[in-house]
């Protein structure tokens, strides 16, 4: 039971972004994928989601691959994108119904859970509204509610704190902690390390399409020659220097 990415090479047509990337997430683990803009974090996620074809390598989720059974593979993961992507024609309630339909959730069990999530994110009174008319922060909350409602073994969260109010950030961190405790796998990209540190078990630094180091913050510091007293932001300086010197 794990997400395994081995020797992944990929990117966009005629442009390689990911180059021999290896990554492993086990149940109950939250992996923080960090790196500079353009390092390939979102591209890696797109490969896991099956939005981009892999040129080389293999992505398996609980022994299943996207090529073998796309629907079964996708049923094991939920995704919270950096920018909310909603169906303009669906109300909030219908987004939840669609999530239940797609993931084959029993409504009798899913609705109480949905109500709980909606209350936590202060959306319970907006069920009949079109979320496409919500503010960006509220739209992001809809994405969070739908993803946690799906209750999948793997949760992929891209820059989760963008646009959220402090209350929502606290609630989201609590949900991630609970999911982690329930044995879910979580892959998260973020630049906001101060908030992410509370839930991330290990970090993977992505630089120039590959992951040179995976480990705790202390291990990452050591790898990049940072003193314990140094600000972690210095890591990004080092990554930038590495990029400049090829």
């Amino acid at each position: 039971m794990s997400l395994e990415i081995t020797h992944l090479v990929g990117g966009y047509a005629g442009f390689t972004v990911i180059n021999d990337l290896n990554l492993n997430i086990s149940p109950g683990e939250t992996l923080g994928l960090i790196g500079l803009n353009g390092a390939g974090k979102s591209t890696t996620i797109k490969h896991i989601l099956g939005l981009l074809p892999t040129r080389q390598g293999r992505i398996t989720l609980n022994e299943r691959t996207l090529a073998n059974d796309p629907t079964a593979f996708k049923r094991q993961l939920a995704y919270i994108p950096e920018t909310p992507i909603l169906y303009p024609e669906l109300t909030l309630k219908e987004h939840l119904q669609l999530t239940m339909l797609s993931y084959g959730l029993a409504e009798a069990e899913a609705w109480p859970k949905a109500q709980n999530l909606l209350t936590q994110f202060r959306l319970a009174d907006k069920l009949d509204w079109l979320p496409s008319h919500f503010s960006k922060g509220m739209q992001q909350k809809v994405m969070i509610v739908c993803a946690f409602l799906a209750d999948t073994p793997l949760l992929i969260i891209d820059e989760p704190f963008t646009g959220l109010d402090p209350l929502a950030v606290t609630r989201l961190i609590a949900l991630i902690e609970a999911a982690k405790a329930a044995g879910k796998m979580i892959l998260m990209t973020t630049h906001v390390l101060a908030q992410a540190q509370r839930v991330i078990s290990k970090y993977a630094v992505l630089n120039q399409g590959t992951i040179p180091v995976v480990g705790s913050l202390a291990e990452i510091r050591k790898h990049y020659g940072l003193a314990p007293s140094d600000s972690f932001d210095l890591l990004y300086e080092r990554l930038s220097q590495e990029q400049m010197h090829g």
Binding site: L51, P70, P81, Y87, E89, E94, L101, L130
Partner: protein, 395 residues
Amino acid sequence: MDKLAKARLRANLKQSLQYLSLVFNDFFVLALLFLVGAVMFWYAQSLKQLPTGKWYYPLLAALLLWLPSLTGRLVTLLKPADQQFLLTQDRYFASYLSKMRRYSLILPTLLLLLMAGVVFPFALVKAQLTVSTYVAMIGFLLLSKYSQLRLAARQLYFNQPKFATWIHLGTLALLIMIAYSQLWFLAVLSLGWAYWWRSSTDAVNWLSAIAQEQQRKNTIYAIYAMFTDVPERQLAIKRRRYLDWLLAWSKKTHNPNLFLYQRLFLRNPAYLSLVSQMVCFSVLLSLLVANGIWNLGLAMLVAFLTVYQLAPLIQAYDYQLMYLVLPIDPATRPRAGIRVIATAINGYGWLVGLSWLCLLPWSWQVLWQVPLLLIGVNLLAFGYLPLRMKKMEQK
């Protein structure tokens, strides 16, 4: 700002000409020529038969002349990014708008002159208006349009009264007064009124101005979209709560694709508006043709065109990222699409059939044409449509 206005007007003209060349394609021009010819022939015949000097003729002439003044909203060509990049340009906005105002006058002026030419024989011969009164009416309308555009430009600033509807109605009332009592001075007064509306010293209401322009452009794009694809068109999804009973009425589905397509059809104007327009078009054709077998043939042709244009509904989410991420089985797409389109085209069949029964002269022929139309639309939905969808999915 002046340079920007000129550049935007040039780009807009270029884009409009591109779309107009697609709208006025060979078939449409031919159809238009026949239509205009038929209307002109009918008009010439009617002029010969109409009695002269009825009291309501000047009113009718005024109404017809007033219609073009409803067109030609203020073109501002503002873009969403302007609220960021032009925020500091309030002082120069009036000069930008004066160029836009001049451009905005072109369409209503052309339409007014065209209408003036068409109405002229009726106004002079049948309504017995003098040439000077007629010219005064035209002049007044031109001045009024100019005033409306000045007012529209001023309303792009904060703290301005909104009375666009009253302006239109006031124009009509004054026009009728000129037609009946030859009060030419009203035209002169309106000229003074137009100049009285000077530029505002308030701040520009950028958000509202940009929203108005987006709405105006979307209206234009919607017209182009009847003839060709318009990628720039932004569809305003409407909640349409009053149609929720249709969703409640249809059986609860376990197919996510059907769930999506039902809502897409009801709330996205591209689909529901298309069916509504096709129903109206078919009913209008039936009334004009008023011939049994032709009515059936034309209604079937319109039904085919409707089904053909609705078929891409199943590809509506092809580039929607969450649709691709969600575990939705793509194999159920055609079945779901056929069900939604079949319901829509049956609605079309029933509405057109009912219009035949209610609006056409009664005959037994109509009674058997209605079931034939319903059989025909179902053949399209369950015979032709699956083949077309299969082809689309293979591409």
